[in-house]
Symmetry: D2
């Protein structure tokens, strides 16, 4: 089968990248990876992956590659560093940048990549480790349409994601991800502020869940997290600290564009306060604790 001949690189073999790699390997693709963690590398090798000593070495040997990294500084190093992708990627190489970085950085990386005849697509995801392993991620892809349409790109994306969206310019995928984060954290906080008023008034929580869940004020976050709040289950799905970081990234972007986001700023400050109060590692539904004090 033709597709199987694609050599795929994977930089970042953690919870997200490692699981995506595993998914691709089990689909029969050869995957060549790199990570700074020995543990991550061992696990990846056990699943059948091969490894190289640097992002540059991976880039030299593959047709298409993915970066899935936890921090902006790591992304920079992987692309621009002395052993980075830009040092050795062949002309025509395609790189899917799937980390949560700012739209501005996505743009910068793609522009620099173009000077090396490398094509970068900004392709952040919605979904977690489980969806990464199962190939059921939602993927928002910005960048040149012809690169998105390239058979290599399509083959890889179809194996990784369930919902694939071509969103436009290089920064568009990461922008939409930020917008989603703002709405997620904001809708949740507002719901908690509102139901806290109800709770202070002795309105039954289950009644609120049932009635409001069918009302015009309902949101995905209300449906997903109100039951957790009622059960006092704040085990992390997505943590307060990650929520804070993501909303902060949106505010940084707004600031660089001189766009005011006053309600979102209040949301950010309350997440910061929750983090300071010691809830940073709990699920974002724990923001309710700030309002109950």
């Amino acid at each position: 089968m033709l597709k199987k001949s694609i050599d795929i690189g994977m930089i970042g073999l953690g919870k997200m990248g490692g699981n995506m790699a595993q998914n691709l390997l089990s689909s029969g693709f050869p995957v060549c990876g790199f990570d700074v963690s020995d543990a991550a590398i061992s696990k990846f090798r056990e699943s059948g992956g091969t490894t190289r000593d640097s992002p540059a070495a991976v880039a030299a040997d593959v047709d298409i590659m993915i970066t899935s990294l936890p921090k902006a500084s790591a992304v920079k190093e992987v692309y621009r560093g002395g052993d980075g992708i830009f040092q050795s990627g062949d002309p025509g190489l395609i790189v899917l940048e799937m980390s949560t970085i700012s739209p501005d950085m996505a743009t910068e990386l793609a522009e620099e990549a173009a000077t090396h005849d490398i094509d970068v697509l900004g392709a952040p995801v919605s979904g977690g480790p489980e969806e990464s392993r199962d190939g059921t991620l939602t993927i928002m892809v910005g960048g040149r349409q012809e690169v998105f349409d390239d058979e290599r790109t399509q083959t890889v994306l179809e194996h990784l994601g369930e919902d694939l969206y071509y969103t436009g310019d290089i920064d568009s995928g990461h922008m939409i991800k930020l917008i989603n984060n703002v709405m997620t954290m904001g809708n949740l906080l507002l719901a908690m502020e509102a139901v806290s008023l109800g709770a202070a008034r002795d309105i039954d929580g289950e009644v609120m869940l049932k009635v409001l869940g069918k009302s015009g004020g309902a949101s995905n976050q209300f449906h997903k997290r109100m039951p957790r709040v009622l059960n006092r289950n704040f085990e992390a799905g997505f943590t307060i600290d990650l929520g804070k970081k993501d909303v902060g990234l949106a505010l940084d972007t707004a600031r660089s564009m001189d766009q005011s986001m006053i309600t979102t700023s209040v949301v950010f400050n309350l997440f910061t306060q929750a983090s300071r109060d010691g809830y940073g590692d709990e699920d974002i539904s724990a923001i309710v604790k700030l309002l109950e004090e």
Copy 2:
């Protein structure tokens, strides 16, 4: 049919009350009404309703009655005024208070009603004139359980609403309505703040609608009003001024309970600003204009 023998009173024959009355009349119930507007009375009579000169006169002649009024001051007058319900309602009369008033006022009215052996239920609705006519309202009912279970109450509610909820104490229905309003206006404003950032970045609106509509940040308001925003259709479903009033009512209640609602306060101020900027009569989706300026 036994139920049809129930005599129903209707105080307030406007867009909501008038349509509810029409629905009940067309189901075969005798409805006796009152309104201060001659036009509203004419229309009601044409549909087969009979009228009296005052709320007191209506109360004297019915088994169960409904109040559906536009302002708190009108509600007070209708219950407590010289020609009000409390002047003549027979012991055992049931009154469904379906206006948008504060939970505190619902409690006060019910307590005062009890001294006249009249039973008041706080029964605010979700839905508009259309749902009122079709009997497809969502109705949240607070008050004594046995009054809610009374055959007269059940008969009337079943004809008016599609989703009926018994929510607990007398103020619980109105409280849940306030909570819904806070989430509605807040989720919408946050969505507009977020997509305005995207628009300023030239992200395609239809792409945002499609992708974000399936994301964790989606909400009923996003689904319902983002298409309006993209079509620049700000014809009122629910106006900025009504939104402002309802969020203000929630803040009043929070204040009387010494509860801080900081994000909601910001939402309220931005709706106030939109009203001052001349968008008060437009649909709440017009809040986006404030962010585009």
Copy 3:
């Protein structure tokens, strides 16, 4: 001396009104008072005051009178109640309303008073019990200029206050008081938010007091309350709960005028939070505790 023949009425003999009365008595004026508290009445009589059974009875016997009451509801009762001023005040009676009420209420009382040929001036004060006793209050007076210029008014005001301002229309004095309250609470909160950042960074508090006290960001509140904060002396000068109430009054007024006050709303919510956290009876400088948590 002619002036001394003025008969002065005083409704409200508490910390403010009682001390003003004492000041006037010690200056040789006959003062006739009323209060609902027996203790307040006893103290007032010991200082040489005479009393009546009701505000109406006081109003019947004096040339000019003062109302200094703790709550809006008490003000209403004193003017409009069955035994209120409007029941018996002679045409030409002057009433100085010195409580902290809303500008709207000042306007309403004056308009109603005019139908009785009684002249009300809105004359709120800046200063506390000590300044009331010493006659060193700052008094902002709104109302008809000729009533302000009346010899009776001038005589009384000159004994009560050090700084007297004629501010314009009837509501202008109370409006300016609200504006002052907003700036007072706001400047303080912002200073505390800013110095808390410094403190978290281990900047010496005394250095901040010295350097910032001479800087462009300094304010009366910074000068007055930063030393208290450094000494952890939160004994009440002016309490968090009073600050909350006064800012709330400004927000009510803004709301009735459809004026957005977004920063002030945030200030109000943080004072509300401080009150909930148990600091309501401490000095407003205790707002810093909210930021240190």
Copy 4:
């Protein structure tokens, strides 16, 4: 005179640095300067200064030097660049960093300087071009006490400033400057929000200026800028855009310390809005226009 033998370097010869240099030259000190602008260099030479081709060349020839630059990126380049101070400064060189940079950057520069045996003091100023020329700046100095006490440092600072403060650790001067900026912009915005309410109520502006200027809510900004507002004179003293930048710097610092600054965030967003509305180059008192719309 011994002191006059001190060779002083000045990097940045703009409105601030150029005027400081002129002041030092007219006091008889030899000043050796650098700037990227030919115009700035010409003006400096006309005043008697000598120039070099790079910050490094200046550093090689002086006993103590000053950096006064408009942007953080320029500061980095001047210290760390290929022709920067760290390339050639002799051990024992003292550098006074007087730009508006973040406290974190001040710390980093000083730490890196120490590895070259160069002493950096963080010495931001309060005051503008006029005060720079007249030697009447307020200067807040953080860093090693013995470097502050060094005769060279004292000689230079005494000629530049009227009020000199030793504030503690290397970042303390810049921190206090940020705190001052937060209070400045915040006190001003709150005053404008409050007096806009008064203006909407037709309270006379001059009366507000007079009465509130003596009230507990007064601040330096109220005294300084309320007259401008009444005269509609928004010619820049300190611009909206600079105010926005400085408050943004404080928020960045708060964020890096995980400190919530909710009121300050609202202030920042409103300054951003004012900038977007086209008032960025006007004096910060023009923030009132946002509230009048």
